[in-house]
Symmetry: C2
Subunit: 168 residues, 2 copies
DNA sequence: GACTCGTTCTTGAAAGTTGAACTACATACG
DNA sequence: CGTATGTAGTTCAACTTTCAAGAACGAGTC
């Protein structure tokens, strides 16, 4: 990015870009709200908490280290601590000590947690389908995937050394 | 949606859909986080608050009724009340009584608020550009717009009578 | 061992969000 | 009018997220 105090006129969005950007903001907030409400109603937790349970359900022995879980859910460790505390109160997750690193903690999905997931996953998939995949043409699904992957590339939390190639 | 207790196996996402859905979740959360941090750093407020100022800046006399603003920002009136209270403390917005409806309130963008917007808009546009438009091919911008419009259609808060056509 | 430094995870307080209850005013209808 | 019902906005309590410490351990160095 340019130096501070850069006085050059910024490149504003053109018409097509504006329309797309507005549509993006509109659609993504509507979908996030929709899924949040759907899951709050049917599973008693917000979308992000549900995502945590899903991650755990797919992990070996249904458990993950806190830091790994935080990374894959793209939230801070602090936020995760609070979230896991809440999920633990609900009985869907338990914490377990890590024998090889006494600082470490695992979050493990309980059987109750797995049950909640089994009960609510169909409704959640249905909601996603209904909002997205049942409304898009197959090409559009591919296009969306490609676009999202491009976006993610540009935003990926940088490898600490990635911007220091001259040091290698 | 089907009746409760529906025992039929739900249609899960196929491979392509899974990949796209994951990419969508990944990319949208990364972008939202990125913009939130960028605006928190450069403008001292989260993305949604910035959006409120933008809406106001484009409205006639730089003011809108609370309910209208809430609708166009797609947030609850409750959330808006808190947000405007906060923006009022920062001096960027003021509340004004509505003469024609004594229940009503306008939120009006102050000159200070307008200044913040002028100062920070270039950086924000640059961030959006860098994350999105500078990385997408022109066709992809169009595709993204089309896809987001389809999504929004399916999620649009329903007109109360929209699903009761037989009553007209 | 003792020192330093980095990592893991938690904590507490402040800020933000939600959904329901509530106040005040508007509108419709008899 | 008067009463009922709806709408605009705020407020409260419960919950979630953020930010800035902080406690506990690991790893390297002397």
């Amino acid at each position: 990015m340019g130096p501070m105090g850069d006085m050059t006129e910024p490149r504003w969005l053109d018409d097509e870009e504006q329309r797309t950007w507005r549509a993006y903001l509109h659609a993504t907030t509507l979908l996030e709200d929709h899924l949040d409400r759907q899951l709050q109603r049917d599973a008693g937790m917000p979308h992000i908490y549900y995502g945590l349970l899903v991650q755990l359900s797919q992990a070996p022995r249904r458990r993950l280290r806190m830091t790994e879980l935080a990374k894959s859910a793209k939230i801070t460790r602090s936020r995760l601590s609070h979230a896991i505390a809440r999920l633990e109160k609900s009985g869907w997750v338990v914490r377990e000590n890590c024998p090889s690193d006494k600082r470490g903690q695992f979050a493990r999905l309980t059987d109750e947690g797995m049950d909640v997931l089994r009960r609510t996953a169909p409704g959640h998939v249905a909601a996603v389908r209904q909002a997205l995949f049942d409304r898009l043409a197959p090409e559009q699904v591919e296009q969306l995937g490609a676009i999202m992957r491009v976006m993610a590339e540009g935003l990926e939390p940088a490898d600490p050394d990635a911007d220091l190639p001259w040091l290698r």
